[in-house]
């Protein structure tokens, strides 16, 4: 009797805990979303009059279109280059045993812990010394310094569980190095590549401190949000914030669904059964 009593108490505690965590995470975002639908210029609660005019304004705004395009270009290039670099970086990190690997593993992760604002400023100084005009292209470079190590780390998890004998077996069955990569290594590591790529995109899309110093005359979405909040607040700030957040959520959902659809058959096979 008392056992079932205590298990019921445990269950209700788990529910309370879960609801608290979800509320803690989502209340700020919900507040921002509500602010974007408010008629008043400044956010006050409760909302007395509702409107969608800020959405119309945001969609029609040419400067917002520029912002989105800049952010998208930066994030897309960062994703492509990071995944390419990090794929081979992760192989060196986790797949091959070589002299100096331990040192490499430490050095390659160091930039993650470097304060981003300081890194941004340092890069800006370097760009000016080297006489490079800063623009969204230089921001791509800056983002990569911070993001490539993270993507290497994410991909390494997958690489660690990769059995090198699989590559040897393919090679032994007559495959060239390139065929081994295409037929065995890439498909097996693809979940790591996809999650690494998703992280690269989202981290670049939302990055503020590095962009602030390195985009020059160009402006990304986070920079604009910050600038508008500091001076010249408009409800377009919460609107664009809500839109980009929804965009990110949709992006992850789409990647997940595509992955599920493409991989359903394969994953069914890869799932081990307990016979």
């Amino acid at each position: 009797m008392s056992a079932s009593q205590s298990s019921r108490t445990t269950r209700s505690l788990i529910v309370i805990w879960t609801v608290t965590v979800i509320a803690f995470l989502y209340i700020p975002m919900v507040a921002v979303a509500l602010a974007s639908f408010s008629k008043q210029r400044y956010f006050r609660f409760p909302i007395s009059r509702w409107t969608t005019e800020w959405y119309t304004k945001t969609f029609e705004s040419l400067s917002v279109r520029d912002l989105l395009w800049t952010s998208l270009s930066v994030a897309a290039l960062v994703t492509v280059f990071s995944v390419l670099l990090a794929f081979f970086g992760a192989l060196a990190f986790a797949r091959y045993d070589w002299k100096g690997r331990k040192l490499y593993q430490r050095l390659v992760l160091l930039p993650i812990f470097f304060p981003q604002a300081v890194l941004g400023l340092a890069l800006l100084l370097w760009f000016s010394v080297l006489d490079v005009t800063t623009s969204w292209q230089t921001a791509v470079f800056a983002h990569m310094i911070w993001i490539v190590p993270i993507v290497i780390l994410i991909m390494s998890i997958q690489v660690y569980s990769f059995d090198p004998a699989l590559e040897e077996a393919a090679f032994d069955l007559g495959a060239t190095r390139w065929q081994v990569l295409r037929e065995v290594t890439l498909p097996i590591l693809s979940p790591g590549i996809i999650s690494g790529g998703t992280f690269a995109f989202l981290l670049s899309w939302g990055n503020f401190p590095l962009s602030l110093f390195t985009t020059g005359a160009d402006q990304t979405v986070p920079e604009w949000l910050y600038a508008k909040m500091v001076s010249g607040y408009t409800p377009m700030v919460p609107t664009l914030g809500t839109l980009t957040m929804s965009g990110a959520a949709i992006l992850i959902l789409v990647i997940y669904l595509v992955w599920m659809a493409l991989g359903a058959r394969r994953r069914a096979r890869m799932a081990t059964n307990d016979e």
């Binding site: 059995d163 004998a165 699989l166 040897e168 077996a169 393919a170 090679f171 032994d172 069955l173 007559g174 495959a175 060239t176 065929q179 037929e183 065995v184 498909p187 097996i188 394969r266 069914a268 096979r269 890869m270 799932a271 081990t272 059964n273 016979e275």
Partner: protein
């Protein structure tokens, strides 16, 4: 060199050094076409390094290997007409059973219809249902996965098929079944099989010839019968399983003396130049009780323990002639009724013992 002209795979002084460590030293072997040849050795004996060199994953640092007279040393694994079944099997987890089996055919550019037909033939040959073609490899049982790995290697149509202890992870009964199946497949295909294992027992069941490795070198090469009946030294004899090993020295032209207590035993023959060595007697040729009384070599001792081994009973007997216990085995229906702490006589025929010098 060539006392046997029919060498298919010939190893000539193969050596592999990793820095200052020599994993394989000066191995020369001739493997015949169609033979089931097994390299047996404990871990660290160099057998894994040896097979990795044979497959092309490692390069020898000395010596030459030739397949039908063609030097293989610098040919990479993907250009060799040989193929290996890996210890972990290394089945591709993202591919179906069928895709695994026909992998080498896909690489060779064979069209999908012919690939599939060949994969289905192999499934049938290895007694797997044809429906398994679309199944995931991780959904198959341990024994099925073994057969898939073998089918994948056979699809490559290799001139030599190598095996790196593929059965070591399986439970006893399944291993016994697959050992016999593998021997059947060998007979059916007529291919040359080169197998490595740490289990001499496994090697005995399947092999035409066995090479025993130790510390990177080969200790003895021969048929299972030769290895069993005429081990060249104590190491090979003990590798077979439990044996009685008595440290002895030469006493006369037909006898040896136990170094522990001086008792003398007759031997089948004295190797030229023999001074000291070991007398080896298998537990199953030893007699106990009345049956031992009339034998030429006997020892008095006390039964220390007994074990039921299924069809046989094993006794441990203590005596002064050796430091260790004697092991004596008799069939369940033999007349001796022994008990622990009985004083008994144990013995053996001189012809059933083996004298080795190291």
């Amino acid at each position: 060199m060539s006392e046997d002209g029919s060498a298919f795979l010939e190893l000539d002084g193969i050596t592999k050094k990793f820095g200052s460590f020599t994993a394989v030293r000066d191995i020369s072997l001739k493997i015949r076409e169609g033979e089931f040849f097994t390299l047996v050795g404990p871990s660290g004996s160099g057998k894994t390094t040896m097979i990795r060199m044979l497959v092309g994953m490692e390069r020898p640092t000395g010596g030459e290997m030739r397949l039908q007279g063609k030097v293989l040393n610098d040919v990479p694994a993907n250009k060799r007409p040989t193929c290996m079944v890996f210890q972990s099997l290394a089945l591709f987890p993202h591919k179906s059973v069928g895709e695994n089996i026909e992998f080498s055919l896909k690489i060779a550019g064979v069209d999908p219809i012919r690939r599939r037909r060949r994969a289905e033939e192999l499934l049938a040959q290895l007694r797997l249902p044809v429906e398994y073609y679309d199944k995931g490899v991780n959904q198959c049982s341990g024994g099925e996965r073994q057969r898939i790995a073998l089918a994948r290697a056979l699809a490559f149509d290799p001139q030599i098929l190598f095996f790196d202890e593929p059965l070591s992870a399986l439970d006893f009964r399944l291993r016994k079944t697959l050992e016999k199946e593998l021997k059947d497949i060998h007979k059916e295909t007529g291919k040359t099989f080169v197998y490595i294992t740490h289990s001499l027992e496994e090697a005995m069941v399947m092999s035409d010839r066995i090479a025993i490795m130790r510390d990177g070198g080969i200790v003895q090469v021969g048929s299972p019968q030769e290895i069993y009946n005429r081990p060249v030294n104590k190491f090979v004899a003990q590798f077979m399983g439990e044996v009685n090993t008595i440290a002895v020295e030469k006493a006369s032209a037909r006898t040896v003396r136990a170094t522990a207590d001086g008792s003398t035993f007759q031997v089948p023959g004295m190797p030229a130049g023999f001074e000291t060595g070991f007398l080896i007697i298998r537990p199953e040729v030893m007699k106990i009780g009345k049956a031992a009384e009339k034998l030429k070599n006997k020892v008095k001792g006390v039964v220390f323990n007994d074990y039921a081994l299924g069809s046989r009973i094993q006794y441990q007997v203590r005596s002064d002639a050796r430091d260790e216990h004697w092991l004596v085995e008799r069939l369940q229906d033999d007349p001796y009724e022994g008990h622990v702490d009985d004083k008994v006589t144990i013995g053996w025929q001189p012809a059933d013992s083996i004298l080795v010098s190291e």
